[in-house]
Homo-oligomer: 430 residues x 2
Amino acid sequence: MNIQAEELNKTLQEVNPALFDMLSERGKAIFFPKKGILGQSAEAKGTTINATIGAAIEDDNSPMRLKSISKNLNIDASKAFPYAPSFGRPDIRARWKEMIYQKNPALGTAPISLPIVTNALTHGISMAGYMFANPGDEVLVPSLFWGNYNLTFINAYNAKIEPYNLFKDNGLDIEAMSAELMSEGDKKILLLNFPNNPTGYSPTVNEMKEIVASVEKAANAGKKVVVICDDAYFGLVFEEGIETQSPFAWLANLHENVLAVKVDGPTKEDYVWGFRVGFITYGIKGGTEELYSALENKTAGAVRGNISNASNLSQSLLLEAFDSPTYKEEKKEKFDILNSRYKAVKEVLKDPKYAEFFKPLPYNSGYFMCVELKEGIDANNVRQLLIEKYSIGVISLNNLLRLAFSAVAAKDVPTLFEGIHSACKELANR
Amino acid sequence: MNIQAEELNKTLQEVNPALFDMLSERGKAIFFPKKGILGQSAEAKGTTINATIGAAIEDDNSPMRLKSISKNLNIDASKAFPYAPSFGRPDIRARWKEMIYQKNPALGTAPISLPIVTNALTHGISMAGYMFANPGDEVLVPSLFWGNYNLTFINAYNAKIEPYNLFKDNGLDIEAMSAELMSEGDKKILLLNFPNNPTGYSPTVNEMKEIVASVEKAANAGKKVVVICDDAYFGLVFEEGIETQSPFAWLANLHENVLAVKVDGPTKEDYVWGFRVGFITYGIKGGTEELYSALENKTAGAVRGNISNASNLSQSLLLEAFDSPTYKEEKKEKFDILNSRYKAVKEVLKDPKYAEFFKPLPYNSGYFMCVELKEGIDANNVRQLLIEKYSIGVISLNNLLRLAFSAVAAKDVPTLFEGIHSACKELANR
């Protein structure tokens, strides 16, 4: 094993041996190469003649660039064209960390790591898999989960996906989750995704407490628990009494046996799906600066070997928006639009006639909601009929339809459900 | 194994069983999930009410976006904010393929795959590792190679790096490379990186012929050879008689046992280090549309599980530049600047006094050149003295200094070598 990896591992073992045991073999071996070219480049920073950098510089020391590209950008060339560090831009990392505390007051002043920038959230989840999932390890996910977890964990790392039942009596089946956490095996990887994709469900304040208690119970029983919080749809909670903070806020300082891993980013929070910026952030009780630094170095090493670094251009555009005086107001405006669509769905579904063919699964947040079709109606047939006859697009998942109300104007919501109702009726009568 | 992966594998086995054997276990199992959410979204394209998409759309059907971000972009919102496909934007894929043919006339009309977009070149190499490198597989690299290959192949995929001697008698040691190709084992993964990082060497026209002949010899002997062409510095050749085309041009249609994998992109070709766009493209003799489609689907599946997709914004900005009438002229201007720096290095090194302390390794292209220090002079000491006393930054690699002339104005080149000379002199006399 490389000596730089060994040094990081020593730090982790000294501060928290349980955390070291949570790492995959790959996670144990990875490090950010500080002693090679990158370290030497860092040492040469500020030299008059700097021949270390693998980039081209104009004679005036600005980044070399083509006018056909720069003319379309209203930001400084130095923030768009050069490489960003594998760790991410230091300024956006600091700012995002500050924003994590602001958005999650339950964190208090608990120390957490500085976020590492990823190529948006899928990549954050992939890097969590790199760090923690050995071949054969089970990743505990709810029974309704984002299908791409399969490619991310099973195909890439040869891990297993172990689903637990998501809903019971119109709320979360936390017992099912807890049973998986308490089952055989010392190491547990739990994936929490709220608001959930595909259902658009977030836990109530009480359910969040039960989730946290279940994790604590497992930790007290000696389990070493990695909790990956996929916070893709963070911030989009539309009802009172629903938890508005990430599970990370409650888990990051819970127990020495619990590593909370927050995977988040502006993709949905700030409506930049095509920008590809995300973050991965760690929190563990008793986490010291050295411990977090070791985790950051390992994660940045994984990023370096996989994508080298994420878009500097995107990071810079986002940071500028975060610093804009109208940022909060602009976000509020978009939230209100999504909220109005959510409310339109709630309103329309008050009509009891729909219950004849389908009923909604619990939903209160995010982009999506699902309806469960009455037995005997094939969801895929409904989906196809909706396209052909009604020019309506929905996703079918087994006996469910997933509806992205994020993409439907409030005024069109009644037409959407009328269409589904008619299609179901037609198919039921065939 | 997923049925969609099996279908792709069947196609590969039918068209070219040797190619199927080149895939890693991971490469065999991967597929692009066409039958799930993504396939259903595709089917719903063009519907009046489209509730399939995991994105937010304004009531006017434009992408939801914040003004604080969009004000800094002079391109259409639809080309910046929504997701790009995991395969990459269809328009830039088609354009890049067309440009590969233009830049590599030796390809003729040989069919090659449509390039898959990656998060720049490191990610392209990482995806090649995903597709072809099993744990324990050797990746053949020259003895002077980019250190990040270690993280990409060893750390991520548990493969091995097997270096062969790079230089012999001021040219390439092609015998050494050939010996590795002919050594025990049926499957060979060869990595070619021209212009080479760190040396800035590209093969002469004759050396390229010998390289191709060596690969052909191995293929004729029954070896199944995956040749990964890391074309990061493509296009920057500064001398007559040096091969200006990628090895891919000569290998893509060479032999049924040779899969040429081109990893390239605009990062250095178009001076956009921070944009993170690259491409991975395949060529094999007898490659049919079905075969290439199967490889593209597998690669896009790997991309989907790893990063989901690459920056739409960056792809769109680049495509617009490619289509600009001044694009070629702008590139020529930048090439000329780099060429003038290269020429300045050649000129300065004509002075015989430098031979007292160092001599250049062969170089003719790219961003870099290396000097080998006389025995007894420690390169790292030289490097540190250069920073402290001369404000000059260079990279030390064992007994070499790597100099990025790409980052040094031609007028500063004499000062750079004067400084190195003085530092060497001082250390030699200590």
